[in-house]
């Protein structure tokens, strides 16, 4: 009997050890994660690039942990990700600021994805030691409200920085303004675009104007016609992180939230109609709901399965991967339910935040104001960021430079960058929530189930109940 007890204890302890091992398994998976997130700028690259980034990260992050410090008086450290997008923008800013402070050095610590930065913040906060954070961090806008609410000591606001806030789109600032204080220096612009293949539309007898400012019902008709004549769908989305409901609601000027923690799903007619559009499109085969991010980018967009792409403008580099289609694309706004207005929305986009660990807040504020904040160096910063990384500003004055006004051959000479900056000014401010990503998953599930035959009203009710349950769980 004694031996039996011993073997039982051993078996249980083996189980316990393996359970602890679970944590390290999580880390391994994490490096691959950025390619999965639809709202993630890192993923705006082609799948190949993202994979290469993830591969690199093993070495990078090892060095990164040791070197978040900024020793010199003219040195700042920053966490950022994506060597093809955000990093060139930061390098451009470093160079621009050296005009003011020749000794200035920006220590850019590359991460494999936005999620790594967000998790670094969460981990630093839960260990109670912000010393592990660099002076400045870059991450996606949807997180900052929750981060400031949960970890107020982890941040330093930008009050007193020489930034002309009127020069930025109101919607962009609504994320990072908390309690009337500005926390973030906006980097890229998440304004949503709807790009169409004009050659495919032409085959069906339509032009880009015929799909601008239309109703979703009309859009579904056109999409069916395109599908019948060419076999191509007119829209696709990564359904594992489905941003369509959010963008479509924002284009209506509405939200899935009444306030930060009160979901507004059951009885919300607009929300139901938006879901009906997506479900109808999926059933018709005119909207492809891809299973993963790589399927969305590599197969639906780069594999020429769709004649239309709607997402944050960071999706443009993905569209441009297919050089054969150069000159065949055009950008416009999003359809709406009643068609009386053009739809403007935003998705993704990130900002720079000064952490509580920064002991040179004045230098950091100066740097951000001078470069990304619309100061003297902003034109140089944003022009180089656009050329080297394709980062589009949400600083309205910087968006009027000559570089921005240049026509882009891929879009048949359309001056897409200045168009996007202008569209960004019209994006309506809608109610945000700390539980954005939780709800996104639940609404995505509701769409899947409805497409598979479930009743939409029941699914909306189930989503509302589950999100209320989750909110109650983290607020007790």
């Amino acid at each position: 009997m004694k031996r039996k007890m011993l073997s039982m204890i051993l078996a249980v302890s083996v189980g316990a050890m393996a359970l602890c091992g679970c944590g390290s398994g999580g880390d391994a998976a994490k490096t691959d994660a950025p390619a999965e997130d639809a709202g993630d700028d890192a993923a705006a690259d082609a799948g190949d690039d993202a994979a290469a980034d993830a591969g690199d990260s093993g070495e990078d992050s090892g060095a990164a942990v040791a070197d978040v410090s900024s020793e010199g008086e003219h040195e700042l450290s920053v966490y950022a990700w994506d060597a093809n997008f955000n990093i060139p923008a930061l390098k451009a800013a470093e160079k621009a600021f050296q005009a003011k402070d020749p000794d200035f050095k920006l220590n850019i610590v590359e991460q494999s994805g936005s999620q790594d930065v967000e998790q670094a913040v969460t981990l630093a906060a839960s260990s109670g030691d912000y010393g592990a954070l660099p002076d400045i961090v870059l991450f996606q806008d949807h997180y900052i409200q929750k981060f400031v609410a949960d970890y107020p000591d982890a941040w330093q606001d930008l009050e007193g920085a020489d930034i002309n806030w009127d020069d930025f789109g109101e919607e962009k600032l609504s994320y990072s303004t908390i309690g009337g204080k500005h926390y973030g220096a906006p980097v890229d612009n998440g304004t949503a675009i709807f790009a169409y293949r004009t050659d495919i539309l032409e085959q069906c007898g339509y032009t880009i104007d015929d799909v601008t400012g239309i109703t979703w019902d009309r859009w579904l008709e056109i999409a069916r016609e395109v599908k019948d004549k060419t076999g191509m769908a007119l829209l696709s989305m990564d359904h594992s992180g489905d941003d369509l409901p959010y963008m479509l609601m924002q284009a209506e000027g509405q939200s899935q939230w009444k306030d930060n923690t009160t979901p507004d799903l059951v009885g919300n007619e607009t929300f139901k109609k938006v879901l009906e559009v997506i479900v109808q499109g999926a059933k018709d085969g005119t909207i492809i709901l891809a299973n993963s991010w790589s399927e969305y980018t590599d197969q639906t967009i780069m594999g020429d399965q769709v004649a239309g792409v709607m997402n944050g403008n960071w999706i443009i580099p993905t569209i441009e991967q297919v050089s054969d289609n150069s000159g065949k694309w055009a950008l416009t706004t999003i359809p709406t339910l009643d068609g009386s207005n053009q739809g403007y929305a935003s998705n993704g986009g990130s900002s720079l935040y000064i952490t509580g660990n920064c002991d040179k807040p004045d230098l950091a504020k100066d740097f951000l104001a001078y470069t990304f904040g619309g100061g003297e160096g902003s034109k140089d910063t944003y022009d180089a960021a656009l050329k080297d990384g394709g980062v589009i500003t949400c600083c309205l004055s910087a968006g009027t430079s000559d570089v921005y006004k240049e026509g882009v051959d891929f879009f048949d000479g359309q001056a897409i960058y200045s168009d996007i900056v202008e569209m960004g000014g019209s994006v309506p401010v809608v109610q945000q929530s700390d539980f954005h990503y939780n709800l996104r998953t639940l609404v995505g599930n509701a769409i899947t189930n409805t497409v598979n035959g479930a009743n939409l009203d029941d699914e909306i009710k189930a989503a509302q109940e589950q999100i209320e349950f989750e909110i109650a769980g983290s607020q007790n």
């Binding site: 393996a18 359970l19 602890c20 949960d150 990503y437 995505g444």
Partner: protein, 299 residues
């Protein structure tokens, strides 16, 4: 005085022994036991990571678990994998081991290596490979299309039943060889004369397998069952990388859901995640005990 001398030497030896043990003991307490206790305490807390406080009522995280539809779904998914995959995998492993244990088989080293090889592949890599194989425009669909077995691409990972099937196939592919190695090792300890004697008595291959190999391998089989149950209940990489838990959360495992609550969606509900981890821990312990009780005929 004289009597004390040997005890001093002994005493010294004991102290030295404890000193040697001390370092390991301290390390294991700091890095193994303290985190477990700390996680147990966390499981009674709620709130964001920076300022967690004890929940009211204290069992709040535990009591809400069964009301959580997503957790219940992930629980059902995990047990589905367990019930379907573990028996198939262990049976296949046992049969393969039996075949490859045949002394007359040529190139058995090569075959053994081939069966074991999948285990040397990282969990993330093989999940991603399966994901691309079974993608809507993937290799499997192309082959089936070329053979005219299907007329439209099958959305393997976007349909609940097929997505679960793909995960189970992937798991069997990855882990069968791993278990086979245990069985092979166990079979080395079975006297070959037993088989010879059985053959003389007129037992065929099937009979020797069931009446000699299986009973004598019982301790090894019990160990592999425990390891497999343990591994399946903590299944994570496949759910995250292969299907992302989709479609609509119907392939999500418990560990994946725990991870999502702690890190995945920015909510950082560490209390609830810890509570769920302990429930998984208790499940593993209960299943292991049942296994030992059922399997052990000694005493």
């Amino acid at each position: 005085m004289k009597e004390k001398k040997p005890s001093t030497v002994r005493h010294k030896q004991e102290v030295a022994g404890w000193l040697f043990l001390l370092l390991g003991t301290v390390l294991i307490i700091i890095f193994q036991f303290w985190p477990m206790i700390s996680a147990f305490l966390t499981s009674f807390k709620t709130g964001s990571a920076a300022n967690m406080k004890f929940a009211d009522p204290i069992v709040f995280n535990y009591s809400r678990m069964m009301k959580d539809k997503l957790f219940v779904t992930s629980l059902k998914n995990t047990f589905l994998y367990l019930i379907v995959q573990v028996p198939i995998m262990l049976l296949v492993a046992l049969l393969l081991a039996h075949l490859l244990n045949n002394k007359d088989l040529k190139f058995r080293g090569v075959f053994r290596t081939c069966v074991f090889l999948p285990c040397s592949i990282s969990l993330v890599s093989y999940s991603l490979i399966f994901k691309s194989l079974f993608a809507t425009q993937g290799l499997i669909n192309s082959i089936l299309m070329k053979l005219h077995l299907i007329s439209d691409n099958i959305n393997w990972l976007g349909t609940t039943s097929t997505a679960r099937m793909v995960i189970i196939i992937a798991l069997i592919w990855r882990w069968t060889g791993y278990n086979m190695v245990f069985y092979l090792a166990g079979m080395q300890n079975i006297e070959y004369s037993l088989y010879e004697a059985a053959r003389i008595d007129g037992a065929d291959g099937w009979k020797t397998f069931w009446h000699i190999t299986v009973p004598l391998l019982k301790p090894v089989i019990i160990m592999t069952v425990i390891l497999s149950i343990n591994g399946t209940l903590q299944l994570f990489d496949e759910s995250v990388n292969l299907t992302g838990g989709g479609p609509a959360g119907t392939t999500q495992t418990m560990s994946h859901y725990i991870y999502n609550n702690a890190f995945g969606t920015g909510v950082a509900n560490f209390g609830y995640a810890s509570a769920m981890s302990f429930v998984v821990f208790i499940m593993v312990a209960i299943l292991a005990v049942i296994n030992l009780k059922v399997g052990d005929t000694r005493d």
